[in-house]
Amino acid sequence: MSEFISPTLSYSLLSPILVVFAGAIIGVLIEAFASKSIRPIAQVSVSIGTLVLALVQVWRIRSSSSTTAAMGSVIIDGPGLLLQGSILIISIIAVFLIADTENFAAAPAAIPGSSEERESIARGQQVSEVFPLTLFAVAGMLIFPVASDLITLFVALEVLSLPLYLMAGLSRRRRLLSQESALKYFLLGAFSSAFFLFGAAYLYGYSGSISFAGIRDAVVGGTGNDVFLLIGIAFLSIGLLFKVGAVPFHAWTPDVYQGAPTPVTAFMAAATKVAAFGAMLRIYYSVFANAEWSWRPLITGIAIITMVFGSLVAISQRDVKRMLAYSSIAHAGFLLTGVIALNKAGLDASIYYLFAYGIASVGAFAVVTLVRDSAGEVTDLNRWAGLGKRSPWVATSFATFLLAFAGIPLTSGFIGKFSIFSAAYESGATAVVIAGVLSSAIAAFFYIRVIVLMFFSDPLEDATSVLIPSILTRITVLFSVVVTIFLGVFPSPLLDFISNIAIFIR
């Protein structure tokens, strides 16, 4: 036994994560001790302040990157920081949406329609635990893509997931749906975690190490029992594919997206995807890279099935949130092509795509929060008819996001799609590119259908009104639109930035 060595944690490098954890704990304390009147504003400012501070930290350490921290449990390198930055930016604008507490149950634990609930509404008693929950989730997400051993990875996965399970159930309206979505998300999430963990165990069994470096060395050396490796890869992949919503592990996505409060959906859809793909990229690009013969055909197949399935099913959706959910499944398929590419271009493209898609996603859900009637949000697409007439700016913003999802030039989605497909093609994955192109065509079908509905159809009788957006929501939508278009027209700065620093260290 060697002597005990005091761990060096490199606090500076971990500062973004630590800041967020600290913010989360402060949030819990506020929830526990602050008076009701100042609680909402305090929570919002603490959350946003924390996230901004974390973002500043990320920016600050960008040049000192490419090293390990916390005794090799965490790797702070270019891609990791980029993904953390993306997660933080997405989280900030998502928190802007969450800040509109109108969407959240006043007392989530209360039975829907019970006297307790009425009472808490009457007293204006709004529980705001959603903010610390969000910050905890963000912290988990920040760790997930930089984790460099199996424990950290698993813990990060749970840290990001558990708050989300709860957040899904917080909706003020349609409580039953919301609670159902929480239940489904939780059960399936835990189920997939078990697969993940089981896979992790076999990787450990294969390599004798829980650190990525150790596993990679084993893969490169080819010393261990390949059966263990393959089982490990397969089960670990299930956990990751579940998180990104790839077919056939996608089933939770539409239900949860629909049931969860829309701001939470926005946050979850965008940020989780970045985190999960971030981890996936790291694992497949650096840990499993030398075993590509085993997993690449599988991921290729899953990518194709995912994009085609997502696009096809989205066509027949009548609910805007479900439609966006299927769209996110299709995008997961597109993003998997970046994983398959397994080259520098693929990495850059994936990071760009994740950021661009994340921003557009938050923007799209932000618009969804605005379209309401007396009973709350209206997500039935038929009742979006004629939105362009009544609220041209809202409809135009939504159309912009849809065009970006569809990958129309001059939007960020096009550059993303182009770069990720070209990277995949470069690596010889022609089939996936062709499938991608075809499913893009299918996907265009339903994005355009929504645009038609908004602009070319006459409104139904029961008027759906558009809420006058709060200033924060307005900022979110505007920011998303600007970023979406800017990244479509002048993608160079970001592309160059990514290209310069996105190098995995091993």
């Binding site: 399936l188 189920f191 299930i238 539409p254 239900d255 085993s294």
Partner: protein, 630 residues
């Protein structure tokens, strides 16, 4: 060749007249007809001056050219907007502008009551310009412009009273039939360019000597197709009868004297092609022979005076085409017949117009009878034309038609005898149907309300008729005297190669012709001249008469062979486009939607089935990874 920069004005004047009248609109109503007539007359004067100058030069130097500008120039395809006036085209120029001007004058009175008279004159001027371009263009492509231009003018004029649906249909029919012919001209030009690298007359003439038989034959056949369209020759003859829907001066000018002879011009102009392509030449003869009988037979059965004359025109142009097919010896006679025909047929059409004018636009000859008493001048001019077309010496037709029959007989062998006989038989038929027209119209007893008798036309109408009648009498003699026209045109053609053996002396042939004419006329007199004529066409007639009345089933043929299958094809394609082509697109869309809806059912809402899906996915993944690494 001499350059004369004035040629363009011949065309420019009537073109300007047309454009001005059309653009000025109603403002030009008061003076438009006079202006157009003046333009046409000035063009005639210019033509006459050119002719006079031409007479003053040697035979070799008579042709003059003018290059206006480079029209189309791409790679080796170079076409100038160039004009050529030679011995051949000057004949046409004088005929077009001369007869044209007379018909302008006639129309001033004839169209007096029509509120759209200005438009009519604009079209007439447009026609004159296009026709002049046709005969003065120095390349096939320039000719093509005039060729389609006259088609357009003809379309506009036939459909001048297009508020009557039948007239509008007639004009469309004419245009389409012409277009079929135009296609032939297109092909000819394409072949010429592909094989010879040029489309100008001079260029093609030079290149023709070095070209293969096949290419020349192909060009020749395509030119013949073009000619059949424009000149209403078999098999594209069907439009001419319907074209009588146009005002009568139009029939006289376009569908008797000038435009329909464009085919003859084209073949004559392309003599260097046909002379070198005997197959094509033979087909020209055959087409001419068929058409001359075809027209003559239809002529015998028509009760509509204009349609009878139209059938006659078709038949007479058949003579000309036949003559052009006889090679160098035939060209001059074809042109001679063309010129004389221009006089007498135009005159007769104007006469018919005069009769119609006098009888309240009646065209059915069975409603006429004895009109000579009421319209003596018309009778006289028409009668002179009648004598001319019959070929009675010394009227114009005698000189020209006789020569054609003669040349046909001398073209050698069985072929000569055959086509000579056909031409002779045609002459008999001509005599029959023209006598029939004369008798039904001018002789016999009136078959109309005698209290409201026909009246003689005004001076403005009679004047052109008179002048044309003079032409009908004298033109033949003038052109044939000392073989004037033959010598005039000689430099253009391969000089007198002579003709085949004279199997019979010319005098005998002339006598034979005269004999059959008398037989034909007599026969007509027996049938129509001796007793009263029914004022409605008898119905208990032989099948042959009925077929002849139906224009030898030409429309029935076109309808059943082209039109109905064409319509069926159109319907089929429209249906195909909707069901198959667009149906495939819609089907793909529907299949996409359907598969989306089907896959959607996998989302059952039960969390256990989602878990099962994950388990299945896991098993599949393990199985796949096992399969992959095997």
């Amino acid at each position: 060749m001499l350059v004369n920069n004035g040629l363009v004005y011949l065309i420019a004047l009537p073109l300007f007249g047309s454009a001005l009248l059309l653009l000025a609109g109603r403002r030009a109503d008061r003076w438009g007809h006079l202006f157009a007539t003046a333009m046409s007359a000035m063009s005639f004067v210019l033509g006459a001056v050119q002719f006079y100058e031409m007479l003053g030069r040697d035979a070799e130097n008579r042709a003059v050219t003018q290059k206006l500008f480079t029209w189309i120039s791409v790679g080796s395809f170079n076409v100038d907007a160039g004009l050529l006036l030679d011995q051949l085209s000057i004949c046409f120029v004088l005929l077009i502008t001369g007869v044209g001007t007379l018909i302008h004058i006639y129309s001033i009175a004839y169209m007096d009551h029509d509120k759209d008279r200005r438009r009519f004159f604009a079209y007439l001027n447009l026609f004159i310009a296009a026709m002049l371009l046709l005969v003065m263009g120095d390349s096939y492509l320039n000719l093509y412009v005039g060729w389609e231009g006259v088609g357009l003018a003809s379309y506009l004029l036939i459909g001048f009273w297009n508020q009557k649906p039948a007239y509008a249909t007639a004009s469309k029919k004419a245009f389409i039939a012409n277009r079929v012919g135009d296609m032939g001209l297109s092909f000819a030009i394409m072949i010429a360019f592909a094989t010879m690298g040029t489309v100008s007359f001079i260029g093609v003439k030079e290149a023709a000597e070095g070209s293969s038989q096949g290419a020349l034959t192909a060009i020749g056949l395509m030119l013949l197709l073009a000619a059949t369209g424009k000149s209403a020759q078999f098999p594209l003859q069907a439009w001419l009868g319907d074209a009588m829907a146009g005002p009568t001066p139009v029939s006289a000018l376009i569908h008797a004297a000038t435009m329909v002879t464009a085919g003859v011009y084209l073949i004559t102009r392309s003599n260097f092609i046909f002379d070198a392509a005997p197959t094509a030449q033979l087909l020209v003869v055959i087409v001419g022979a068929i058409t001359l009988l075809f027209g003559a037979i239809i002529g015998t059965a028509k009760d509509d005076i204009k349609k009878a004359l139209a059938a006659s025109t078709m038949s007479q142009i058949g003579y000309m085409v036949l003559a052009t097919g006889l090679g160098p010896v035939g060209y001059a006679f074809a042109i001679m017949h063309l010129l004389t025909h221009g006089f007498f047929k135009a005159g007769m059409f104007l006469g018919a117009g005069s009769v119609m004018h006098g009888t309240g636009d009646e065209v059915n000859m069975r409603k006429f009878g004895g009109i000579r008493h009421f319209m003596p001048v018309t009778f006289a001019t028409f009668g002179l034309g009648y004598l001319a077309i019959l070929g009675v010496p010394p009227f114009a037709g005698f000189y020209s038609k006789d020569k054609i029959i003669e040349t046909a007989f001398y073209s050698g062998g069985i072929k000569g005898i055959l086509i000579g006989s056909i031409a002779l038989f045609g002459a008999a038929l001509t005599a029959f149907y023209m006598t029939r027209v004369m008798i039904l119209t001018f002789a016999g007893t009136p078959r109309y309300d005698i209290n409201n008798p026909p009246h003689e036309s005004s001076f403005l109408m009679l004047l052109p008729m008179g002048i044309l009648a003079i032409g009908s009498v004298t033109s033949g003699f003038l052109l044939a005297r000392g073989e004037a026209l033959v010598h005039w045109l000689e430099p253009l053609f391969h000089a007198h190669e002579g003709h085949g053996p004279e199997i019979l002396p010319p005098v005998v042939i002339s006598l034979m012709a005269l004999t059959v004419v008398i037989i034909g006329a007599t026969f007509a007199w027996f049938k129509y001249g001796r007793g009263p004529v029914a004022d409605t066409a008898p119905t208990n007639v032989s099948i042959f008469t009925r077929i002849a009345r139906r224009d030898l089933l030409q429309d029935d043929f076109n309808e059943s062979v082209f039109m109905r299958p064409g319509q069926a094809l159109t319907r089929l394609i429209v249906k195909t486009d909707d069901v198959v082509v667009d149906g495939t697109v819609r089907g793909v869309a529907a299949a996409t939607l359907g598969s989306g809806a089907a896959l959607r059912t996998s989302q059952t809402g039960f969390v256990r089935s989602y878990a099962a899906l994950i388990v299945i996915g896991a098993i599949a993944l393990i199985a796949a990874i096992w399969a992959v690494t095997l």
